[in-house]
């Protein structure tokens, strides 16, 4: 734990809501961080306490946001903060703790197999789409939209809800109570005890006996040590009337510990789906020394090396445990809600609460627009593979052929993945698009939006992209790939919503031809363009305002605080 920065609660003081923030606000900027800032500022009557969980302290030099006055406490915990043992003493280890841990692992393993669809469903996790002719997009496997239908199917086939959740809760109780009562003892037991060794070797024998033991061992160790950091954090975090965690993962695990140890409500909001994001990261991670055997098959994860699978299952288990404790479980749109349910969330606890934006910030931009439709396509986002900038560049070739003089602007920082950025620049040159496609770097959206004819999203993964709403509010229609809830934003979610009309176009993922055609149609047909602009403005003002979002969360907090007396 690192102390000193930000306000501190005095002993005995109680916060209303403690936000558990993994790798985000207030030390990392980004969409989720802005959202957190919005919520805190929008609810000045609530006293927030912030618990930041980071990888290592050197990555978080300064606060990226000025903390609003209703933040009464800030503390930091780092997963790399493993105690340096001066003297390692061999120990037998606590028998009961290991028995309970064993039972919990068995339980999680069995839950895991239930949560994973049977192998007959084309290779398990839909985002992998292994046997559905996977389309590789710059290293990622395109997820497609088959997911919802699979999730639908899973609900019909698989046992759900309380029966499973009850057994898990039962298995969790003794482990949580041991970890929260004596985190240091449990940690030392895990790291050094003979029983822990026995448990590790047993599980290795039963599940990984053909694989490198050294890898396995460090894999298990690296996974679990942060959990004890979380247990120590759970000990030190000041009292709070409710906890709100913004992801599953380690923060979710911490939330689960706090919820069970202190019997205080835990709210979960997931913007993306943490396990899915980790999965994408893990599939690419080069630090996992894995033999990715094509023939290997485990629970539908054929072709993924064993240690990647272990990590993926680990994060799934963290998710399952978080879902078992959290109520309500909030997502941004129906697709993610279905995914949460598939991953083990009790459906009756799940809710969709869409995000909103500050319309007042963007409405004035409409007046700044010039007459007519600017022949400019803008992609506002970081230059990283997940945004699939290359498809945007290829789209511009299609557009430039149909409508010469149209420009494509890529508006966003390039530092995060310099190699990918360089590839994008090369692609522009290679396609002869110099002068057509421009890299503008980071810009204020307010400066850019009035100059755009269309806002284009080619991402291969999104949740509820704020930039679509912001563009709508500024009077810019949108052409987007069919990811996250983009279809709901552009075409409408409910019956009434759809009646407003479409605010642009939805195209297939990684399809420059279709994206280009859709863009050209809108740019050429002024009537259609103005209709789309109107639909966008109406939709965002009716369903996606910041005030609505704040009201929804006020209600959520009131529910939690009320239930806690």
């Amino acid at each position: 734990m690192k102390t000193g920065r930000g306000p501190k609660l005095r002993p005995g003081e109680v916060a209303d809501v403690t936000l558990l923030l993994e790798g985000t606000y207030p030390f990392v900027s980004g969409g989720v961080s802005s959202w957190v800032h919005q919520i805190i500022r929008g609810l000045p009557e609530i006293r927030f306490s912030l618990v930041f969980i980071g990888g290592s302290p050197d990555k978080t030099e300064k606060l990226r946001y000025e903390l609003p006055p209703n933040v009464v406490h800030l503390e930091e915990h780092y997963l790399s903060d493993v105690p340096k043992e001066q003297r390692v003493v061999a120990r037998r280890g606590d028998e009961a703790f290991h028995q309970h841990a064993r039972a919990l692992h068995d339980m999680l393993a069995s839950v895991g197999t239930v949560a994973t669809p049977p192998a007959s469903w084309s290779g398990g996790w839909p985002s992998m789409g292994q046997q559905r002719a996977p389309r590789r997009v710059s290293g990622f496997v395109a997820s497609g939209s088959t997911f919802e239908s699979l999730a639908q199917a899973s609900r019909e086939v698989l046992p759900q809800g309380p029966a499973r959740g009850g057994a898990l809760a039962e298995a969790l109780t003794p482990v949580v109570s041991a970890m929260t009562k004596n985190p240091h003892g449990c940690e030392r037991d895990f790291l050094f005890s003979e029983r822990s060794w026995e448990m590790i070797t047993e599980r290795y024998e039963s599940g990984a006996r053909e694989h490198s033991f050294l890898e396995y061992f460090w894999c298990v160790r690296s996974m679990h040590t942060p959990l004890f950091v979380m247990a120590r954090a759970a000990e030190s975090i000041p009292p709070s009337r409710a906890f709100h965690v913004i992801s599953t993962g380690f923060a979710g695990f911490l939330g689960m510990l706090l919820n069970r140890a202190r019997n205080v409500p835990l709210i979960l909001t997931e913007h993306g789906i943490y396990t899915k994001e980790r999965r994408i990261e893990l599939l690419q991670a080069s630090w996992i020394k894995d033999e990715d055997l094509p023939g290997e098959s485990f629970g539908g994860m054929s072709g993924i090396g064993h240690f990647r699978q272990m990590w993926i299952r680990f994060f799934e288990a963290l998710g399952t445990m978080t879902y078992a404790a959290a109520n309500p479980i909030i997502s941004l749109y129906e697709g993610n809600r279905a995914r949460q349910v598939q991953d083990g969330a009790d459906r009756s606890r799940t809710r969709v609460l869409v995000n909103g934006i500050d319309i007042a910030r963007f409405a004035p931009l409409r007046a700044k627009r010039t007459q007519g439709v600017p022949r400019v396509l803008g992609l506002i986002g970081r230059v990283v593979p997940i945004k699939d900038i290359k498809t945007f560049i290829r789209t511009m070739r299609v557009v430039a052929q149909e409508l010469p003089g149209t420009e494509g602007w890529i508006v966003g920082p390039e530092e995060e993945d310099p190699n990918y950025a360089a590839e994008c620049h090369d692609l522009v040159k290679g396609l002869g698009l110099t002068g057509v496609v421009k890299f503008l770097g980071f810009q204020k959206v307010e400066d850019i939006l009035p100059k755009l004819g269309l806002n284009v999203l080619t991402s291969i993964s999104e949740a509820q992209p704020l930039v679509v709403l912001e563009a709508f509010a500024a009077g810019v229609p949108c052409v987007s790939s069919d990811v996250g809830c983009c279809r709901e934003l552009i075409e409408g979610a409910s019956e009434q919503d759809r009646a407003i009309g479409t605010a642009g176009s939805i195209v297939k993922i990684a399809d420059p031809e279709a994206t280009g055609r859709a863009a050209v149609e809108l740019l050429k047909d002024e009537r259609a363009w103005y209709a789309a602009q109107k639909a966008g403005i109406t939709r965002v003002e009716r369903y996606y305002t910041q005030a609505q979002m704040i009201d929804r969360y006020r209600a959520v907090y009131q529910g939690a605080l009320g239930s806690n007396g």
Binding site: S196, R209, S212, F213, L214, R221, T225, S247
Partner: protein, 456 residues
């Protein structure tokens, strides 16, 4: 959401298992190879002197002085012996041999300053009436030379140049014997001058050999004192072990009943000294087996096991190789027991003839026999310590050395109280106890080697 990186893993991944401890083979052990040469040389000077010299008193003074120099230099230089061996072994493992020579000069400089100061103070303060200045100067010279020689010897053993060490010792002691006898006319000081000459020659030979083997850009360095690269417990272990081995001798020297004063604080024990030094000659068979077994079979299976660990073999394979390692350790220890046991048995039977050969009066027989047993256990103990060093149980060796020291002091004092029939039992029982205890602990460590390798 910005993901938390996985750099954790890197934080957690330990530095891999070094297989360097063969180099440990052991400061003390290599001390024993040259040790034999030095004992024989001193015995030679003794016999020749006694039969040819007109001044047998000078020979006794010389022998006792050299014995004290040996004992104190081993204890004092024990502070850097293991420590520096490990430092050198680590550098060789890292293929960073350039660091060796500068650090050797660092060690030697510190040793010269430290032992020179210590020796000068001792010779000034404790030898109030101790002969003339030249004798004191030779005393300090001999002490400093011996300490530095032990450091170099240890370095050579780290480099596995056992043969070179033995050759240099043979040459050096040939000079020592010749020079001492040539200078016999000058009394104890003359003998000591010969001793210093021989040892000076040895020291410079070794230094030249090192410099030829490892040319270096830098002149001097003190990286071996770097906190991150050094294991302070090795300094204490080296010191404790030598202190433990010599504790009973000092107790007998310092007890007026069993000893006589010679020069200043230098005393000798007529009843105790000769039998035990002769008994030390009996370690030859045990040491031979020790070298062969530990250096070949055990070192190989050790390599196999830890290479497999590093290369990520399956647990099954690791267990199989661990069994091989345990088997090799067991076979090595068993062979030392067996061969040394045989040597001890033979010496027990023909003890009187051996004493006769060295012209030692037969009333020493009883003490000689118990010393032979004790020395035999000391070989076993060295074998056990070596295996423990291989497996990097530095702390355990430290504790066992401390136990050995305490046991030797306590039991030797008790044996003094019990009377002459029990002389020698203090040492023998102490070393036997330590060996048995260490054997038990090693066996436990080997049983849980997988657990200890990963979880420790």
């Amino acid at each position: 959401m910005a993901g938390i990186g996985f750099e954790l893993r890197q934080h957690l991944q330990k530095e891999s298992y070094t297989d360097l401890f063969r180099a440990y083979l052991v400061a003390g052990v290599v001390g024993s190879g040259p040790w034999l040469i030095s004992i024989c040389s001193l015995l030679l000077i003794n016999f020749w002197g006694h039969s040819h010299s007109r001044d047998p008193e000078a020979i006794t003074q010389f022998s006792a002085t050299v014995t004290h120099l040996m004992a104190t230099s081993l204890v004092v230089s024990g502070l850097v012996q293991l420590l520096f061996t490990r430092y050198v072994a680590d550098r060789i493992f890292q293929k960073n041999a350039d660091a060796i020579v500068p650090n050797l000069f660092g060690v030697l400089l510190l040793t010269v300053i430290g032992t020179g100061t210590l020796g000068s103070m001792v010779s000034l303060l404790l030898f109030p009436e101790g002969g003339h200045l030249a004798f004191r100067a030779l005393l300090v010279t001999g002490f400093v030379l011996l300490c530095n020689t032990w450091v170099l010897t240890v370095l050579f053993s780290g480099m596995k140049a056992y043969r070179t060490v033995v050759v240099i010792f043979l040459g050096g002691y040939a000079v020592t014997v010749a020079a001492s006898l040539a200078l016999a006319a000058y009394g104890a000081g003359g003998y000591l001058a010969g001793f210093c000459l021989g040892h000076g020659l040895m020291f410079f030979c070794m230094l030249v050999m090192v410099l030829r083997q490892y040319p270096s850009q830098r002149f001097i360095a003190f990286d071996f004192l770097d906190k991150k690269r050094v294991f302070p417990e090795l300094a204490i272990t080296g010191c404790l072990f030598n202190a433990a081995v010599w504790a009973d001798k000092f107790i007998f020297w310092w007890n007026p009943v069993t000893s006589e004063s010679l020069i200043g604080p230098i005393r000798y024990s007529v009843v105790y000294d000769i039998p035990i030094f002769v008994a030390y000659l009996s370690i030859i068979p045990g040491m031979a087996v020790f070298f062969v077994r530990i250096e070949t079979d055990f070192a190989e299976s050790y390599d196999l096991y830890y290479t497999a660990v590093r290369q990520g073999e399956t647990l099954n394979e690791l267990r199989r190789l661990r069994n091989g390692l345990v088997e090799a350790a067991r076979a090595g220890i068993y062979d030392i027991f067996r061969i040394q046991g045989l040597a001890v048995a033979v010496l027990l039977l023909i003890g009187s003839k051996v004493l006769n050969l060295f012209r030692i009066p037969p009333f020493y027989l009883y003490l000689f026999r118990i010393d032979v047993v004790g020395v035999g256990f000391q070989v076993v103990l060295l074998g056990l310590f070596t295996i423990l060093f291989y497996l990097d149980y530095r702390k355990l060796v430290l504790y066992m050395c401390a136990f050995f020291l305490v046991a030797n002091v306590v039991l030797s004092l008790v044996s003094l109280q019990l009377g002459p029939r029990f002389y020698g039992f203090g040492f023998a029982v102490a070393v036997a106890l330590t060996s048995v205890l260490t054997l038990g602990l090693l066996s436990r460590k080997l049983d849980r080697l997988d657990y200890e390798t990963f979880m420790r």
